[in-house]
């Protein structure tokens, strides 16, 4: 199968076949990171720009490692070093980046649609590394890869996502991707954190955690952000942890071989107890490992031989 998407902006625009191709490609990439010399020449001579307008540590690191292991040249600009602090608009910054002829722009942006608006105006491939509360496709893809590794499939699984769905681009991308691949997704949070009409993405909604995790194959916990208390979403971490924290009792309601995931960083003792986070059920670190592989696959597919096969 030929992959001919210029950009990776969200999961919604990827077909089930394209998602499967990305996951298969990522599976193949994993081996490179196990070698003593973790580098292949695949993207030699390609330029990848990291344009992160919002703080990020692990996502950026993961993308950077992925690019370097494929031998691409990488440069970074962040909000504090970009002209955005001087009042330059997003579109102008993007046009200036474009003028330096990068092959791929990896961008994270505070506004939903930021990557979409840039992608329409530049010839380079744009990979969305998170835009506002809209999408985080590489995270969803690494989640899908991790689940597929653990369970051997995605179709037919029961997957519970618990936490602030309203403000989560990860949740939106995961719901869209997992349901597209045939899994059943249910989300759970106090109603203050359930955005109106989320069912359209294909999930069911619970407000009681016990109902949501019952019989789950996978439980995915989202980080609770303390600063959201100011938005009147929940009264205190203590009360939230009591109602929606994942502990051994709630874990016991899921299937015996349930796996536990978290996009990080963890709030131990809030949305997840330490004994669960560190248990054999936890796949949190596998997610991180798979993140590099998925991002290598994305670079390869948008900038490598496959997409440009007939122009080479």
């Amino acid at each position: 199968m030929r992959f001919d998407k210029k950009d990776i902006l969200d999961i919604r625009s990827l077909s089930a076949e394209e998602i499967a191709l990305i996951l298969d490609t990522a599976q193949g990439m994993k081996e490179i990171s196990q070698r003593p010399v973790k580098k292949v020449p695949t993207l030699r001579g390609k330029t990848i720009v990291f344009f992160f307008q919002e703080p990020s540590t692990r996502t950026k690191l993961s993308f950077e490692l992925a690019a370097k292991r494929l031998s691409a040249d990488t440069v970074s600009i962040s909000k504090s070093t970009s002209s955005i602090v001087k009042g330059e608009t997003l579109i102008d910054t993007a046009k200036n980046l474009e003028a330096m002829t990068p092959d791929v722009i990896v961008m994270r942006h505070a506004s939903s649609g930021g990557a979409f608006q840039v992608a329409r105006r530049v010839g380079a491939s744009v990979i969305n590394a998170g835009d506002g509360t809209h999408a985080h496709p590489s995270q969803a893809l690494l989640d899908m890869l991790s689940i597929r590794e653990a369970k051997g499939r995605l179709a037919g699984l029961n997957i519970s996502i618990i936490g602030d769905i309203s403000h989560s681009r990860v949740a939106r991308s995961d719901i869209t991707g997992l349901t597209r691949m045939g899994a059943s997704v249910s989300v759970c949070a106090p109603e203050t954190m359930i955005p109106k009409g989320i069912e359209r993405l294909g999930c069911t909604v619970h407000t009681k955690m016990e109902d949501c995790v019952q019989g789950a194959d996978v439980i995915m916990m989202l980080r609770i952000q303390k600063e959201r208390m100011g938005n009147l979403l929940f009264p205190s971490e203590r009360e939230y942890a009591g109602l929606y924290g994942l502990n051994q009792n709630r874990l016991a309601l899921a299937k015996k071989d349930v796996v536990v995931m978290h996009p990080g960083p963890l709030n131990r003792g809030v949305e997840i107890s330490s004994d669960v986070a560190d248990s054999d059920h936890s796949m949190i670190l596998d997610q991180v490992t798979n993140g590099v592989a998925v991002r290598m696959a994305l670079f390869y597919l948008v900038a490598g031989a496959s997409r440009h096969a007939d122009t080479d």
């Binding site: 608009t89 579109i91 942006h109 506004s111 939903s112 509360t133 681009r169 109106k196």
Partner: protein, 434 residues
């Protein structure tokens, strides 16, 4: 200047209907006769209006002309050209200029600029509160002396209920309507589009219907308390319409307007992150759109206004949540609204009522096509097929969600104070002069 409009199909609901010759002289309707019963006057400009509909000059009670202060978006001159082209003989100019129209000096400036431009009339609205800051009453009497026809803090709600009460009481004595921008800012919470599945899908913060309707409920209560004239601007939700329907049934003195986009578009129609579909209140759901049409049909919604809100491309070509709210409407309102007639929701007479007669009553003027009355008149070709192309607009701005729409019907001639300010000739060339 003398204009003889021959064989026009006059449609002035409640006043005059039928095929007539209309002679306009010295700014007034001089004679209105049965066809061919009068002599052709030497020197008069003769207009063959066969097959065209002559209606009282359309009035748009909700327009942002941006001058003074934001002339890069629109000037009074460019806005009035757009009005004339759209068939409007008068507009009510919102006071959120820089400086705010909260005193007689700014009011006088606006009226002077409008007279100089001459393409259409301006009825200014003054601010409710000084600087539209929502703290103290503006000098409303001073502005009334200078010529305002209404007061409003439009763009911002009057959040303080006590200030609203006092404004209503004060304006009642001055016989000025108070225009309500109904929005609870706490509930809107910095959102950028309608709350619902589409906003959730796009990850855009939503604005719930209740952010509008709670303020409609509040100000209906204050209208009842004070007996003052309350006019609700740009109604967008089913709940607001139902509240106003009940208020009217209870005899409370309220009126309201909606805008063409609220009965033509929903949040589902917005292409991803297209800021030309971002306005406040936002495009709502299909249920709301149908409730708006129902409100227009049963008379709950008195009039159609555009909320013409010009913005420069620099304010729109940015991230969706950072883009300015608002779209322009003067040059598309009539064709887009005529679709209501084409689709069988309104009769043409009802549309004229909502775009000319009810707005005139709200502004406290009489625009009847009647001998001796000021000659403000719009000639409509209801079947003129065309494609909406913002690049042809007289407005300085291009923020329009209707680009590319195939529509039928347009104003082909606009007469203001007996002067031909806009006409489209046989070769579809515009002629416009102030």
């Amino acid at each position: 200047m003398q204009i003889l409009i021959k064989k026009a199909n006059v449609l002035d609901p409640g006043n005059l209907e039928g095929v007539k010759d209309i002679l306009i002289k010295d700014g007034k309707f001089e004679q209105i006769l049965d066809p061919d019963s009068g002599r052709d006057l030497p020197g008069a400009k003769v207009v063959d209006a066969k097959g065209l509909v002559a209606v009282p000059g359309l009035i748009d009670v909700h327009v942002h002309l941006r001058e003074p202060g934001q002339e890069y978006k629109e000037t009074i001159e460019s806005g009035l050209k757009a009005a004339a082209r759209g068939g409007f003989t008068a507009v009510c100019a919102m006071p959120n200029t820089t400086p705010v129209n909260d005193n007689g000096t700014v009011t006088t400036f606006i009226i002077t600029q409008a007279k100089k431009a001459g393409f259409a009339k301006v009825y200014p609205a003054g601010a409710v509160s000084a600087g539209s800051k929502g703290e103290n009453l503006a000098e409303i009497h001073d502005m009334k002396q200078a010529g305002i026809k209404a007061v409003t803090d439009d763009g911002m709600p009057v959040s303080n209920a006590q200030l609203m009460r006092r404004a209503l009481e004060y304006c009642k004595g001055l016989d000025l309507p108070v225009f309500v921008h109904a929005e609870d800012k706490c509930l809107a919470d910095g959102g950028s589009m309608n709350e619902g599945p589409r906003a959730t899908e796009l990850g855009i913060k939503g604005i719930p219907n209740a952010s509008e309707s709670v303020m409609v409920f509040r100000d209906i209560a204050l209208a009842e308390l004070t007996g003052a004239r309350v006019h609700f601007c740009h109604m967008s939700t089913a709940e607001s319409i139902e509240a106003i329907r009940q208020a009217k049934a209870n005899g409370i003195p309220v009126t309201c307007e909606t805008a063409p986009h609220y009965f033509s578009l929903t949040d589902e129609d917005m292409p991803p992150y297209d800021t030309h579909f971002k306005m406040n209140p936002p495009l709502r759901s299909e249920k709301d759109r149908l409730a708006i049409i129902e409100g227009l049909k049963d008379g709950t919604i008195d009039m159609i206004a555009t909320d013409h809100a010009p913005h420069n491309a620099d304010e729109k070509d940015v991230e969706f949540d950072r883009a300015a709210f608002g779209i322009i409407g003067l040059e598309t309102a009539l064709p887009v609204s005529l679709k209501l007639v084409r689709d069988g929701h309104l009769t043409l007479a009802q549309l004229v009522e909502k775009m000319a007669k009810a707005p005139a009553r709200l502004m406290g003027i009489n625009n009847d096509i009647r001998v001796g009355n000021t000659a403000d008149l719009t000639l409509i070709d209801p079947d003129l097929a065309h494609t909406i192309d913002p690049d042809t607009f007289y407005s300085k701005s291009r923020n329009c969600p209707f680009a590319g729409w195939q529509v039928s019907g347009a104003a082909v001639m606009t007469v203001v104070d007996g002067r031909l300010v806009f006409s489209q000739n046989d070769t579809n060339q515009d002629e416009i002069k102030g």
